[in-house]
């Protein structure tokens, strides 16, 4: 296995281990918050109540950006003929776009 593939494999599993408890928390919050309808004041009242929400969501978006980008690369390599260096650059680009959108969202709810 090439060195890059090994590191991406490890990063995919490590990000999955970080994401698992955060997704469980996310699903819990969704089920809690959806009752009675959603509003900006209700969402922001919660996320701005303590620094721990922005911290958790910050970790969430970093792990999700890594996990989604590597996951899409795996799918594209296996289901298409796209395998050269440009795929690695596209993976990096997808990860960076998700990271920037994610950090902007965290900034907005912090």
């Amino acid at each position: 296995m090439k060195r890059l593939e090994l590191w991406l494999y490890i990063a995919q599993r490590a990000s999955a281990l970080v994401l698992a408890p955060l997704v469980l928390l996310h699903l819990g919050v969704i089920l809690y918050a959806v009752a009675g309808g959603l509003s900006a004041s209700e969402i922001l009242g919660r996320t701005r109540s303590t620094w721990m929400w922005p911290a958790a969501y910050g970790l969430f978006v970093v792990a999700a950006a890594v996990h989604a980008a590597i996951g899409l690369r795996v799918v594209l390599r296996e289901w298409t003929s796209w395998r050269d260096r440009s795929l690695d650059l596209a993976t990096l680009g997808i990860g960076l776009v998700l990271l920037l959108l994610g950090l902007r969202a965290v900034q907005a709810i912090a």
Binding site: R13, A16, L17, L19, A20, V23, L24, H26, L27, I30, L31, Y32, V34, A35, G36, G37, L38, S39, A40, S41, I43, L44, V61, A64, A68, G71, L72, V75, V97, L98, L101, G102, R104, A105, Q107, A108, I109
Partner: protein, 109 residues
């Protein structure tokens, strides 16, 4: 092989992952609207309609399927072999559907 439960689990994990990755940018852009509270409220009002709630329910189920299916994969890769592994696909699917049912119930609460 394609009728084997493990292959179907692989396919569900892969397709749910693709769907979630495609949805994620839209989700993050909408959350970015929280900088303008009125815009976020406008979106949330739009998202309260039944068709959007139905789409959200599917997304919640996909997220739960990817989570529980992913936990199964991590357990298979990282933990010692267990005879119960063959039951985990069913448990993962049941847990995801339970979350989806919970979302529907809570949406009408």
């Amino acid at each position: 092989m394609r009728n084997h439960p493990s292959y179907r689990a692989f396919l569900v994990h892969r397709l749910s992952g693709i769907a979630l990755a495609l949805f994620l940018p839209a989700h993050l852009i909408v959350l970015g609207l929280a900088l303008e509270t009125a815009m976020l409220d406008g979106f949330l009002d739009w998202a309260a309609q039944p068709a959007v709630k139905a789409a959200e329910t599917i997304l919640v189920i996909l997220l739960a399927l990817h989570l529980f299916g992913g936990l199964r994969l991590l357990a298979i890769e990282l933990l010692p072999w267990s005879d119960r592994q063959k039951d985990w696909i069913g448990w993962a699917a049941a847990a995801a559907l339970a979350v989806g049912a919970g979302f529907v119930v809570r949406s009408f609460a």
